[in-house]
């Protein structure tokens, strides 16, 4: 099953490689991994999307907790949560397609953030499945480039991950 795990860790050189190394050394899957400092510059927040059996997920959580640089771990999948991902798509926008692409971007609440006479660059935010749907909705031949950040997640309401 797919799990989205959030963690706070020391914002120190090498901390990221400890997490990445753990996943490769123990043969766990990483679908995506995002990390950036928090409002407290000594700490980074990481979101990992992974998959595995319940036993594997339990081990992943425990092994992450065991890393000395990891302050706290929360499996967001255990409760209500929100996840968002940002995607930038550069598409060939010429002739009839130019208008059509603008319309599809609007339907998906995307924004065109760069325009040239041949291309649009569209910014889209949402759950991963929404970004997938957008890519399916447009003609694949028009896609020049896509870049996705991977999911960031946060618990709903009172579910707070803090030191």
């Amino acid at each position: 099953m797919r799990h989205i795990i959030s963690l706070l860790m020391e914002n120190e050189a090498g901390a990221l490689s400890r997490v990445a190394g753990l996943f490769s050394a123990r043969g766990y899957n990483i679908e995506s991994l995002t990390v950036a400092p928090t409002e407290d510059p000594t700490m980074s927040r990481m979101t990992i999307v992974t998959s595995g059996s319940d036993e594997v997920i339990e081990q992943i959580n425990k092994q992450l907790n065991k890393l000395v640089d990891v302050v706290t771990v929360m499996d967001l999948t255990d409760g209500d949560h929100i996840e968002r991902e940002l995607m930038l798509v550069k598409v060939l926008a010429q002739g009839d397609a130019r208008e059509e692409l603008k319309r599809i971007a609007d339907i998906f609440r995307g924004r065109i953030i760069d325009v040239s006479d041949k291309t649009y660059t569209i910014e889209l935010t949402g759950a991963g499945s929404k970004l997938d749907s957008f890519l399916q909705a447009i003609d694949r031949g028009l896609i020049l480039e896509t870049v996705r950040t991977g999911a960031s997640g946060i618990g709903r309401g009172d579910r707070i991950l803090k030191l």
Binding site: M9, E10, A13, G14, S17, R18, G21, A25, E55, E58, Q59, K62, Q63, N65, K66, V68, D69, V70, V71, T72, L163
Partner: protein, 568 residues
């Protein structure tokens, strides 16, 4: 007053009460060696290879309850140390390894003797640090010692660039240490402990399975008291030997791949299993599906939450330091009105004694060929069971584990998890330095001993009078055994041709060598060796080259699917 990073490093070691540091100098650690030279509180032992430095520190740590310390230079110094670090990591041994690094301005430039020490050791340390400023050395070393020893112990590497060791700064050693992201749980949950107590009291066929955690936590006393109170059988893992006295009648021997029949059958047929500081390793429980195929309740006590339900699902988990948890468990049991079910225990012991009757460790002695089991039994007799026995890896290790009956913890020193050949001699050196007057035997084979034989030189320099018991069967015996059982007797590269004359070799290093070729000479040779209290004696026992280790649970098989000597 301002001190250099190197001075601070040594001052920190002094503050930590470090008695011995095992090391090998080189360019990147010259400033640190210079400071070592100027003091005499911390004694340095110059090994002949960095791997041996780490094993020696490891042996020192295992036989005491202190942190072992090693010092190596950058590049090849660190890479040579990696096997030693991984060995300590797999067995949760507290070490601090200090490595030199190229100057900070050279890092990343593929400088002379540069490797990414932190990167290379990351998967086999509990934690590691690169110190980029001399002002961080004291706090980092404080953390390193704390991390190494607390929680589930393990090796910690501190990498110090050469310029940092020469940089001046104010020194004050921190009195306390706090790492906000690291708070090992040492006290067990009392609710879980009560559940465990109830389960144990209701057991009809209880079994206690105790591992290295008991030794590391110095919890032998509590374990022994608990087992006696429960009236249950107790088995030890390879790492746990000595954690429960082997001569006690409730001890059923070591379990696992080469465990006794009664220990393995007890594991498979009990109704409540109490696992204490053990991790259900593949060499211990064999095939997981087979292990899980019988209904039994499992209680697991371990300091590391990640060890719980990793390979085997458990019913009651108690995270905490083994000594603390056992103390609390004993208190709960002692205050309970309920007592263990005597009638059920009587039946259970009847069954266990039946298994015991198979005498799975019996072997046929010979008047022609020296049987390795006989050497170990005689070693036990001559040393009155009171030696520190340090082993290498292979058949001799299993025979030592099976036939030397350990009644005390920290007397059996071996590389259990990583299975590092070459561990024995340097580790024995560390053990002997930690216990100067004690009897230390290094049980090894002609394969393992050659992996760190150069340390005979170190032993000479520091007058380390260990006794080397080489069970020389001219084969990489454990490999040969597997080839005999599972590879159609095709002994692919397991025969050691062109062995050195170990007697002459020992003499070349300035020690005493004794060749033993006849069973009737075994006892006399051992007596002579141990009578030479101040000398290192290398005993070259030419043993039966076809002898196998029994019982054996083949890899991938279940604990009751055992090969006994009599089956063949």
């Amino acid at each position: 007053m301002e001190l250099t990073g190197a001075e601070i490093t040594i001052r920190c070691l002094q503050e930590e009460g470090v008695e011995y540091i095992f090391g090998y100098p080189g360019g990147a650690v010259l400033f640190i060696y210079d400071e070592l030279f100027k003091q005499d509180k911390v004694k340095h032992v110059l090994v002949r290879h960095e791997q041996a430095a780490v094993h020696a520190a490891d042996g020192y740590a295992r036989s005491t309850d202190k942190v072992g310390v090693a010092l190596v230079t950058s590049g090849p110094g660190v890479t040579n140390a990696v096997t030693g670090i991984a060995t300590a990591y797999l067995d949760s041994i507290p070490l601090v390894v200090i490595s030199g690094q190229v100057p900070t301005s050279f890092i990343g430039e593929d400088a002379f003797q540069e490797v990414d020490a932190v990167g290379i050791t990351r998967p086999c340390v509990k934690h590691n640090f690169l110190v980029k400023d001399a002002k961080d050395i004291a706090s980092t070393l404080k953390k390193a010692f704390y991390l190494a020893k607390s929680g589930r112990p393990g090796p910690v590497l501190v990498d110090i660039p050469k310029d940092v060791s020469n940089q001046k700064t104010e020194f004050s050693y921190p009195e306390t240490v706090h790492i906000r992201s690291y708070n090992p749980q040492v006290q067990g949950d009392i609710g879980q402990i009560k559940r465990a107590a109830q389960m144990l009291l209701e057991a009809k066929r209880p079994m206690v399975y105790a591992g290295g955690g008991v030794v590391l936590s110095d919890a032998s006393k509590q374990l022994t008291e608990l087992v006696r109170l429960l009236g249950s059988p107790c088995t030890n893992t390879l790492m746990g030997l000595g954690g429960y006295p082997a001569s006690d009648k409730q001890f059923v021997g070591m379990l696992g791949m080469h465990g006794t029949y009664e220990a393995n059958m007890g594991m498979q047929n009990c109704d409540v299993l109490l696992a204490v500081g053990a991790r259900f390793d593949d060499r211990v429980i064999g095939n997981v599906a087979h292990f899980n195929s019988v209904p039994r309740k499992i209680i697991h006590i371990d300091i590391d939450p990640a060890s719980i339900s990793k390979r085997v699902k458990v019913d009651v988990s108690i995270v905490g330091d083994v000594a603390n948890v056992l103390t609390d468990l004993l208190a709960v049991l002692n205050s309970s009105k309920q007592k263990p079910d005597a009638a059920a225990l009587k039946n259970w012991w009847k069954q266990i004694d039946e298994w015991r009757g198979s005498n799975s460790l019996s072997y046929k002695n010979s008047s022609e060929l020296i049987k390795p089991q006989y050497v170990i039994e005689t070693l036990h007799k001559i040393t009155q069971g009171d030696a520190y026995v340090v082993s290498d890896v292979g058949q001799h290790q299993m025979w030592a584990a099976q036939y030397y009956k350990f009644d005390q913890p920290r007397r059996w020193i071996n590389s259990g998890g990583l299975g590092t050949m070459g561990f024995g001699l340097p580790a024995a050196m560390g053990v002997q330095l930690a216990h100067p007057g004690a009897t230390v035997a290094c049980v090894t084979g002609e394969g393992s001993i050659q992996m760190n034989i150069q340390e005979l030189s170190t032993c000479k320099q520091y007058n380390v009078p260990i006794k080397i018991i080489a069970l020389n069967n001219r084969y990489l015996g454990m490999v040969r055994q597997w080839q005999e059982f599972f590879h159609g007797n095709r002994y692919s590269h397991s025969y050691m041709d062109a062995l050195p004359d170990f007697v002459k070799l020992a003499e070349a290093y300035g020690h005493v060598g004794i060749l033993v070729e006849k069973p009737s000479d075994v006892e006399g040779a051992l007596k002579e060796a141990f009578a030479r209290k101040d000398e290192l004696v290398f005993l070259d026992f030419r043993t039966d080259s076809t002898e196998n280790v029994y019982p054996m649970v083949p890899g991938g098989k279940g604990l009751s699917e055992v090969i006994l000597a009599e089956d063949l």
